[in-house]
C-alpha cells in the first residue's frame, strides 16, 4: 500500500514560541509521501480533534504523524481517535516537541523540532498495522498448597464461580495451621470442611507439580500423584506453598535431656494440659541467625504471653531488635512488658551453654551496659524461617527467579504484591517471604482480584506485536533462553521446519529477544530494527 502521510503540528495554544512552526511546516511539506502539514493550536481539545478527524477522512491518509506534547498526555487519546476512524492505532508516530524540545531548551529550537518531526516521519513510513484478536481463556485455576492461604483462595474463587483445583503435597489439608493451632483457633477444621464441601473445588492430595507449559489462560500442568500422572489445563496458577522453620542442632547445644525447644514445640506444649512441673524460668532468644525476619518476634511475643498466662513462669527475651513493624505488634510488645516479660537487647551474639537440664545464656545487654547471665529451665530457640521444601526445584521448573533468601518472587517492586515475571503465575502468602497473617490476607484478596480481572471476562485481548519470521529463524533457542517472561517457545512450523514462536499473551513487550536474535528473525512492530534505524538515519541526514 502506498504510504500517504498527514503531519499535524501543534503549537500548544501558541505557547511554544521558540519553535518557528511555519518554517518547519514548509520544510516538511515537500517530503515524499507527505500529503499535507497542518498547524494546530490545540490538537488535544475537541476543536483540534474535530479538525484533525475531518482532515484524515478527506485526505484519506494512512499514516499520521503528530508533533505535540509528550505521549504521556496524547498518545492514548490519539490512538483511540485513529481507531474510531478505522485506522490502525499503530500507524501513528509522535514527536515530543513540547517537553523534550521547546521546554527543555532556551532560545530558538526550530532546528531540533524539525529533526524530531523528521525522525517521526521516517519511522511512520515503516509502520505496519498491529492486529488485535480475542482469545478464550480457561476459566479454571490451580492452587498449589493446601494450607490456610491455599484453602482461603480456593474458597474465595469458588464464590466467584471459578473452578479450582487445590493441590497439596501432604495427605491432608491444613498446612502449618495444624502446628500453630493455638494461635489460629478452631477455624481450621471449619475451613477444611468448607473446602471439601465446595462443589467447584477439586482436591488432589499427596501430589506435586512436575511440569508447567503454556501461557496465561492456557497452562498445561503435569501433576504426579503417587504413580499416577495427571495432565490438566488451567487459566492461572497460584502458588501458596508456605514456608518451613528449622532449629539447627549445630546452632544450639541441643542434646537429650537439655531443655531447648523450638517455638513450634512450645505451641504444642501449650496446647497440652498444664504440666505438673511448670518451668520456672523460660528464656526466649532470637536474632541470632536472621535479623531480617518478622516471624521470630511474633512467635516469641505470642509464646511469651501464653506462657505467662498458662504457667506463670518468669520470662526473659534476648534479641537484637524487636520487629514491631506489623499491625498490632507494638501493642503486643507493650502487653508482654506489662505482664512482666523482661527484654534484653544484645549487639554481640550471646553464648548459650547447657548444664545438666538447665541452660545458661550469657549476654551483654546494650541498654543496661552490663553482662547478663541467666539460667533457665527452658529455652525457646529461634527458628530459622526458610523456603519450604522443593522451592528451588519448582522455581527452576517454572523459570521464576527467587529472592536473595530463596523465597519465591524476585525483589523487584514492579511485580509486587502477588505477581511474578510470568503472567498468570502468582505467589501468595509466606512462600514469598515472611508476611504475617495481616499481610497474608491482603495477598489472598489481591490474587483473587487479579484472577477475577483475568478470567471473568472469558476472553483476553491478544495484540500481535512481536513476531518471529519463521523463514529466518534458525531455531538457535536464544530467545527462549533470554525471555524473562518465558513467552518464547519452539514450535513445529511444518513437517520440516521448527522455529521459535512468541506467545503474545505471555509477552510483556521488552524487545530483548529482538535485540539478541542472531538471525534478526524477530520483529517488534513499532520498535523494529528498521524503525529504530530510520530514526537514527533521519538524524544523520540533517
Amino acid at each position: 500500500m502506498q504510504v500517504k502521510m498527514g503531519i499535524f503540528l501543534c503549537d500548544c495554544g501558541g505557547s511554544l514560541k521558540n519553535i518557528d512552526f511555519p518554517r518547519i511546516g514548509g520544510n516538511l511539506e515537500n517530503l515524499e509521501d507527505v500529503a499535507f502539514v497542518d498547524i494546530s493550536h490545540n490538537l488535544c481539545l475537541g476543536e483540534g480533534k474535530k479538525a484533525m478527524t475531518s482532515r484524515i477522512l478527506t485526505e484519506n491518509i494512512n499514516r499520521v504523524v503528530i508533533a505535540a506534547c509528550s505521549p504521556e498526555f496524547c498518545e492514548g487519546d490519539f490512538a483511540v481517535l485513529l481507531e474510531k476512524l478505522r485506522l490502525n492505532p499503530n500507524l501513528l508516530s509522535l514527536a515530543n516537541i513540547r517537553e523534550q524540545c521547546s521546554w527543555a531548551h532556551e532560545g530558538d529550537v526550530s532546528a531540533k523540532a524539525l529533526a524530531l518531526v523528521m525522525m517521526a516521519v521516517d519511522r511512520a513510513r515503516l509502520l505496519e498495522p498491529v492486529e488485535t484478536k480475542e482469545v478464550a481463556v480457561k476459566n479454571e485455576v490451580l492452587v498449589v498448597g493446601g494450607g490456610f492461604c491455599g484453602m482461603k483462595v480456593s474458597l474465595e474463587l469458588s464464590q466467584l464461580g471459578i473452578r479450582t483445583t487445590l493441590m497439596e503435597r501432604e495427605s491432608t489439608l491444613g498446612g502449618q495451621i495444624r502446628e500453630l493451632e493455638g494461635f489460629y483457633g478452631p477455624q481450621r477444621e471449619a475451613m477444611i470442611k468448607a473446602v471439601e464441601k465446595a462443589e467447584t473445588i477439586e482436591i488432589i492430595t499427596s501430589a506435586e507439580v512436575t511440569g508447567v507449559e503454556g501461557k496465561i489462560g492456557d497452562f498445561t500442568v503435569r501433576i504426579k500423584k503417587g504413580k499416577k500422572k495427571i495432565l490438566r489445563t488451567f487459566g492461572a496458577i497460584v502458588f501458596a506453598t508456605g514456608y518451613k522453620t528449622e532449629v539447627a542442632a549445630g546452632d544450639f547445644p541441643i542434646k537429650p535431656g537439655v531443655n531447648i525447644i523450638s517455638q513450634q514445640r512450645l505451641a504444642q506444649l501449650l496446647q497440652a494440659p498444664t504440666p505438673e512441673a511448670k518451668p520456672e524460668t523460660i528464656g526466649f532468644i532470637f536474632d541470632l541467625f536472621d535479623e531480617n525476619s518478622r516471624f521470630p518476634t511474633l512467635a516469641t511475643l505470642n509464646g511469651a504471653l501464653a506462657v505467662k498466662q498458662r504457667w506463670g513462669s518468669e520470662v526473659y527475651v534476648f534479641c537484637k531488635n524487636v520487629k514491631v513493624d506489623s499491625e498490632g505488634v507494638e501493642k503486643l510488645y507493650r502487653e508482654a512488658r506489662e505482664q512482666g516479660v523482661v527484654f534484653f537487647k544484645f549487639d554481640e551474639k550471646p553464648t548459650i551453654s547447657a548444664d545438666d537440664d538447665r541452660v545458661k545464656i550469657e549476654a551483654k545487654d546494650v541498654l543496661l551496659g552490663e553482662d547478663v547471665t541467666l539460667t533457665c529451665n527452658l529455652v525457646v530457640a529461634e527458628e530459622k524461617f526458610l523456603p519450604s521444601e522443593g522451592t528451588e526445584g519448582l522455581s527452576s521448573l517454572l523459570k521464576i527467579k527467587t529472592d536473595s533468601r530463596g523465597f519465591y518472587q524476585e525483589e523487584n517492586v514492579n511485580i509486587y504484591p502477588v505477581s511474578s515475571e510470568r503472567k498468570g503465575i502468582f505467589f501468595i502468602g509466606n512462600c514469598r517471604g515472611d508476611l504475617g497473617l495481616g499481610r497474608v490476607l491482603t495477598d489472598i484478596f489481591s490474587v483473587v482480584s487479579r484472577i477475577r480481572e483475568l478470567l471473568s471476562p472469558g476472553v483476553v485481548e491478544e495484540v500481535d506485536r512481536v513476531k518471529v519470521d519463521s523463514q529466518k529463524c534458525v531455531a538457535c533457542l536464544t530467545c527462549i533462553r533470554v525471555c524473562p517472561h518465558s513467552a518464547a517457545q519452539l514450535v513445529q512450523i511444518d513437517s520440516e521446519k521448527v522455529a521459535a514462536d512468541i506467545s503474545q499473551l505471555a509477552c510483556d513487550r521488552c524487545g530483548i529477544c529482538a535485540a539478541v536474535c542472531p538471525a534478526k528473525a524477530i520483529k517488534f512492530e513499532g520498535y523494529s530494527d528498521e524503525q529504530i534505524l530510520a530514526q537514527i538515519e533521519a538524524i544523520g541526514a540533517l
Partner: protein
C-alpha cells in the same frame, strides 16, 4: 549531523524523566536526540554502531535502575551491550567513551540532566563528531 548525542530512553524510566525535566524547566544540551524504546534491553549493538556511523558524537543508553527493570534483565543486558560496543568501537579506533549507559528512575529528572550533561562535557573533551 553535527555532533548530536543520541539517547535511547526506556519508556518506563528515562523517557518519563526527560519529560519531567522539561516540565520543571531543567535545561539540557540542545544536541540531544531522544529515541524512545520499550526497554533498554531492546537497544541492540547495531543501533549504537549505526548511530556512530551516522555521525553522532555520542550514544547514551538510559535504562531503569539496577533491580528495577520490569523485565528483570533488560537494563543489565543493555549495560553489557554498551560495554561490548565500547570494545567494538575501540577496535576500529574510536574512543569507547563516546558510548555510555546510565540508570535512572522515572522520578529522577535531575539524574537525567546530570547524565546528559556529563556526556556533553565528555564530548567537549573528546571533540565533537569523530
Amino acid at each position: 549531523m553535527n555532533g548530536e548525542i543520541i539517547a535511547f530512553c526506556c519508556e518506563h524510566s528515562a523517557y518519563v524523566a526527560a519529560d519531567a525535566a522539561g516540565k520543571q524547566g531543567l535545561h539540557c544540551p540542545e544536541n540531544l536526540r531522544i529515541i524512545r524504546v520499550p526497554c533498554a534491553g531492546r537497544v541492540d549493538i547495531i543501533h549504537i554502531l549505526k548511530a556512530m556511523e551516522e555521525g553522532a558524537a555520542a550514544v547514551l543508553v538510559l535504562g531503569c535502575e539496577d533491580g528495577l527493570c520490569q523485565h528483570l534483565t533488560g537494563n543489565i543486558r543493555a549495560r553489557e551491550r554498551v560495554n561490548y560496543s565500547e570494545m567494538l568501537l575501540k577496535e576500529v579506533g574510536i574512543d569507547g567513551r563516546r558510548v555510555a549507559m546510565f540508570n535512572l528512575a522515572a522520578n529522577a529528572p535531575h539524574k537525567f540532566i546530570q547524565a546528559v550533561n556529563e556526556m556533553n562535557e565528555r564530548m567537549k573533551e573528546l571533540g565533537e563528531g569523530k
